[in-house]
């Protein structure tokens, strides 16, 4: 399966999650399956319930989209009183293929002044998760959250055993 195919499949999977969560009344999902990198890492089962109990306020993760206001200096000038959006899933704004030519050409037709630099889904997750985990002593190592698949082991050349001081270097 090529990377592109993987991406398309993943987009569809995530789209289903999103559709599922929004049509299930405006309630929050209990569990979100994060599986953008399933080729190399097992999907992460994100415990949304647990995290939402920890967070004081939805905007910590969801910016202004849940209608709870935002405290970020850079957002507040426009979004202090923004209403709740129709859908609040990450993938609605943070696409899983931020660098595909389709997305880039879509972006280039937008006339945003500020949102020209939105991170993709993977980065949005990682920044959000790792940033908070560092503050709150949550897990931060790659495999603390993602179990690596055999393909992942191969990808990282788990079994390579050379001496450190001759890293194929001239």
């Amino acid at each position: 399966m090529s990377a592109k195919q993987i991406l398309t499949t993943l987009m569809m999977v995530l789209a289903l999650i999103v559709v599922g969560s929004t049509t299930m009344a405006a309630d929050m999902p209990e569990q979100v399956s994060l599986d953008t990198m399933v080729e190399l890492f097992e999907a992460v089962e994100f415990d949304h319930d647990m995290h939402s109990e920890l967070g004081e306020d939805c905007s910590v993760c969801h910016h202004h989209t849940t209608g709870t206001g935002t405290t970020d200096d850079r957002c507040i000038s426009c979004h202090a009183n923004s209403d709740e959006l129709e859908t609040v899933a990450c993938i609605n704004c943070h696409v899983s293929d931020p660098f595909s030519s389709e997305h880039l050409s879509r972006e280039s037709q937008e006339i945003y002044q500020f949102h020209i630099d939105r991170p993709g889904l993977k980065a949005a997750y990682h920044w959000n998760c790792i940033g908070c985990h560092e503050e709150m002593d949550g897990p931060t190592g790659c495999e603390d959250c993602h179990a690596r698949t055999p393909e992942g082991d191969e990808f990282y050349h788990k079994d390579a055993t050379g001496s450190a001081d001759e890293g194929g270097h001239h």
Partner: protein
């Protein structure tokens, strides 16, 4: 200069410029300057985002079908490797087209910098290659054709970033090796390079170079204190297609802080301009000298007049 002649002059230069552009030349030739293909792609590397996971190295290795590494790509001990009496960190070579190095400025968190070809707008390697092995593609990549590489290694001398490597271990197929922006397998089909796609932190932002510049400056503006006010590669060496945002002065992460804004080819243009002049002037000049000397010979007193040597030497310099 009168108005008319100036207008004519301008028209002529525009015509020449248009001819060069329309002619589809891929090379930055000695005359004129090349500001890059308008919609070519680039990557903005944000050093504040990189966490040193080395996934980009692994992705590059797989995509480019490079030899197996000596150490796993999740082995972080490579950051402690130094070479040449501790003066050098890891660099790109024939089996690694990209490497990540760690820099630890005093009193701050470590900063990681990914090294790969920066894909200059006017590449030094390209302009130094005497078999025209290099091409700057309209997508922005600097690629090369190993099948014509003679192995002179002039491009390695010329590259201001010390990027091209050479397969020294090979006796019969020794050619230059470097990052090609995944041009063949991805970029030309509109896909980002493998390293960009794998990056968990989006430390690598792929896009049109002109958009990346906007993004870069916006990040600096909207995050006061996070970055130094410089998009390294925007102007440096004529502009590069891989550019860097750094939280600390670039020399502290191993860059030349003042490489100049001129592309490397400008440094040889002066000499290249001399060539046609020598070709045009020398024949007449020296044939003239010969005729003068012959004439003098006719008067027959040159034989013991060794003082002439002075003038002759002087004349040739």
């Amino acid at each position: 200069m009168s108005g008319i002649s100036r207008r004519k002059f301008l028209a002529a230069s525009v015509a020449v410029g248009a001819a060069t552009t329309l002619g589809g030349t891929k090379k930055a030739l000695a005359a004129g300057s090349f500001s890059g293909y308008p919609n070519s792609m680039g990557v903005l590397v944000d050093l504040t985002r990189c966490i040193g996971c080395r996934s980009c190295e692994a992705a590059c290795n797989k995509e480019q079908k490079l030899p197996d590494p000596n150490l796993p790509f999740d082995d972080m001990s490579v950051f402690d490797q130094t070479f040449h009496h501790g003066t050098q960190k890891r660099r790109t070579d024939e089996s690694a087209y990209t490497v990540v190095n760690r820099y630890t400025p005093e009193g701050s968190e470590p900063i990681y910098r990914k090294v790969q070809c920066n894909h200059c707008a006017e590449p030094a390697c390209l302009s130094s290659c005497f078999v025209n092995a290099y091409t700057k593609t309209k997508e922005g990549a600097v690629i090369y054709d190993g099948s014509v590489c003679v192995g002179c290694r002039n491009c390695m001398i010329a590259c201001p970033f010390n990027v091209p490597a050479y397969s020294y271990s090979s006796a019969f197929g020794a050619v230059v090796k470097k990052c090609i922006f995944c041009h063949e397998t991805r970029l030309k089909d509109g896909l980002p390079p493998a390293c960009v796609e794998i990056c968990p932190q989006e430390a690598l932002t792929f896009g049109k170079r002109k958009d990346l510049l906007k993004i870069g400056h916006q990040r600096i503006q909207t995050h006061p204190g996070r970055y130094i006010d410089r998009v390294y590669g925007e102007k440096e060496l004529g502009g590069t297609h891989w550019m860097y945002l750094s939280p600390i002065p670039v020399e502290e992460v191993g860059f030349d802080p003042r490489p100049g804004n001129e592309p490397i080819i400008s440094h040889v243009k002066e000499f290249l301009g001399v060539v046609p002049m020598v070709l045009a002037i020398w024949p007449a000049l020296f044939t003239g000298f010969h005729l003068l000397a012959k004439n003098q010979e006719g008067h027959g007193d040159h034989e013991h007049d060794t003082e002439h040597q002075h003038d002759e030497e002087g004349g040739q310099q």
